[in-house]
Symmetry: C2
Subunit: 213 residues, 2 copies
């Protein structure tokens, strides 16, 4: 019985992986359940046994991708909380975010969710709440702990987290969204941008940040 469950879970993961590849390369409307079945090496009946319809499967693709990014990030945020050298730690986090979130497949999926936000609002909301907001909350809790240790000064950690991500990603993310990421920036360039952002962020929110707050 347990083995059967395992096999079923593995099959489900295979289907979700095949569906991710299919959706990001052909779009939502351009992808058929038949094509996903072929790629996953299962029958169409098997897919429907696991997922009611294409929208449900697309929803699972979104949730899986959000979960993957946030779990990788939680680990890093936990490490940052323990960091001895804040600037170095923040730089590592910023660089990791940059390369994780600017991954080509993830960018295509992001574009696809935005494209279908009007038609399938619940899926967009899932991504926003389980991916975007969870990362913000996780970073905010990390900033709160660093503030408690006097390594940062964030009177509103959630706002500070949104400033961190916004400063870091406003240019590269928008460029990728609008231009289809045809000429992606080099890793070195993205990392330089990450370092410069950490520097400015620490002026705003480092322990010596001035201001009435």
């Amino acid at each position: 019985m347990a083995e059967g469950e395992t096999r079923s879970a593995r099959k489900e993961r295979d289907i979700v992986e095949a569906a991710t590849v299919a959706f990001v390369s052909r779009g939502y409307d351009g992808t058929s359940m038949e094509e996903i079945a072929t790629k996953a090496g299962v029958s169409k009946q098997t897919i429907y046994k696991h997922f009611t319809d294409k929208e449900t499967l697309f929803g699972e693709v979104i949730r899986a991708s959000a979960a993957q990014a946030t779990s990788a990030f939680d680990t890093v945020a936990a490490m940052l909380t323990q960091a001895e050298f804040l600037t170095g730690g923040l730089q590592q986090v910023a660089r990791l975010f940059m390369t994780t979130l600017m991954d080509e497949e993830r960018l295509r999926l992001r574009r696809l969710i935005i494209a279908n936000a009007d038609r399938m609002p619940q899926l967009g909301r899932d991504w926003y709440e389980k991916g975007f907001e969870r990362m913000l909350a996780s970073m905010a809790s990390c900033f709160q702990q660093l503030t408690d240790r006097n390594l940062l000064r964030t009177p509103d950690p959630y706002l500070a987290a949104s400033h961190f991500f916004g400063m870091l990603l406003w240019i590269p993310m928008n460029e990728a969204m609008f231009t289809g990421n045809k000429t992606p920036r080099s890793k070195a360039e993205l990392e330089r941008h990450a370092d410069a952002t950490v520097e400015a962020f620490l002026v705003a929110y480092g322990p010596q940040a001035h201001g009435s707050r």
Copy 2:
């Protein structure tokens, strides 16, 4: 002759306005040239006299919207450069951006451009260069002048401008993109967010900003 040109320009503007409404409400594929002609009160032949095909017209819609936003913004940036009270001036600019860029029609157009970025990369690039990057450049030049007057301290004004926009818009813009802006935030809420962002931005880039730079 001059009168003829004026009438022709007016017709073109009517067509672009009708096309904007049609595209944002029905999407690119869901909109026909026939429908746009009816809305604009012209014949299909007239549309084709002005615009070769649907993609060209969509491109004009994008350029018109980008031009409208940037010209409104240039005026405000010029005023900010002259501002006596920097905090108040920046708050006004931030609030104006927030309400201009979070306009429902503009958000729908933005989503549509992202949705079609892979298929029509040149149009996305146009929006990015003529809208997004132009606003950044305009803000950067404004920050440079304020830095020259010792009202700001921005060693890299373009980076500072991207930080300003990113801090301001990361949350509301992403929320609107992913959730289809079904429950838009109130104007008061957006303005509070704008004010809090200006406060943090001035800690990072105000004249008293500390740091090795």
